[in-house]
């Protein structure tokens, strides 16, 4: 064993260090790539949380997703939805209890008619104003499709 130890020492020649530098560069590249994918996944999680689960993302964002990232977004939204339905509690709404459960909104984009909300069905034509429940309006405001009117 002693002899083997000595042989390893003398075998550490120039090639060994060259291979070492190469190996360290590979590890470094791996780390950079992993960090890139990890940070993208974090942004996707943020999107799923803020923009609304399983709703359509704007196409400029969607076309930049790779296939596995789209799948990740869908799976993450599904798990969140399942969690919320098991708790029967929507954790995505505003945490501060509002003074008024209803809110006045103006529709910014054409969403089509006959959209069913929690207490009525409404026709969201562009520039129309509605008096909605706060929880319903929140998802549309977060996606930029409506704005709140502060009188």
């Amino acid at each position: 064993m002693q002899e083997e130890g000595l042989e390893v020492q003398t075998a550490r020649n120039a090639d060994h260090y060259g291979a070492l530098v190469h190996h360290l560069s590979l590890i470094r590249n791996k780390r950079c790539l992993m960090a890139y994918v990890y940070n993208r996944a974090e942004i996707i999680r943020d999107l799923a949380w803020k923009v609304g689960l399983l709703h359509e993302l704007p196409c400029e964002i969607k076309e930049k997703f790779s296939d596995s990232e789209e799948q990740y977004f869908k799976d993450h939204s599904k798990s969140l939805k399942m969690y919320m339905s098991q708790l029967s509690l929507d954790v995505n709404v505003d945490m501060v209890p509002p003074k008024d459960p209803y809110i006045k909104v103006r529709v910014l984009e054409d969403l089509g008619s006959g959209i069913i909300l929690s207490d009525k069905s409404a026709n969201f034509a562009s520039h129309s104003m509605h008096f909605l429940k706060r929880t319903d309006a929140e998802q549309y405001i977060a996606r930029g499709l409506m704005e709140e009117l502060i009188s």
Binding site: R12, D15, G18, L24, E138, A142
Partner: protein
Amino acid sequence: MANYYNIDDILAEEEFVPVVFHKAANGVIIDPSSETNSVEQGAKVELPLWLAQDLYLRQAISISVPACFNQRTRLEIQADAACVDLKSRSPYFYEFGCKIAPLVGDKTIEILLLSAFKIRYKEILTKAYTAAYTTASKFLTLLTKEESNLYEAAQVSMSAFKKWRMGGPRLQRASVLGRKRRSFE
């Protein structure tokens, strides 16, 4: 493990340090001007920190103090730390110094970093709360990445406070959607 995925940490380790090789290395092009693709013993090259750290652990090199901590910087910091342009030396000045200190064996780096940071921190906070946009932009170019994070955090908390005072709209368009992204043409 929290630093493995952290982009700031990765970028901080990209900074160059001057090293002296003790052992030769074959088959690698580290010095772009050398004819053969190998490094001989005793060669002086500039390596990025991530490479230098591991080679130092295997006792193949010895690291000397990097250029951003030289005498000129120290004198400038002693004169007036608040006006020194640390960003041009290295945008990750503090992280870089923290990583370098055990490798180089220079005890004065810690004291230097601490005193510089103390004075600059005071400046950052006062400027964040009081300066108008035009005067502040010249100051912002002097800050390292870590300091500009602090500055932005101060500004964000200030604007959140103002919004709370005035009672602005609580529900807003998600900030993630706010940036205009270029679509593929």
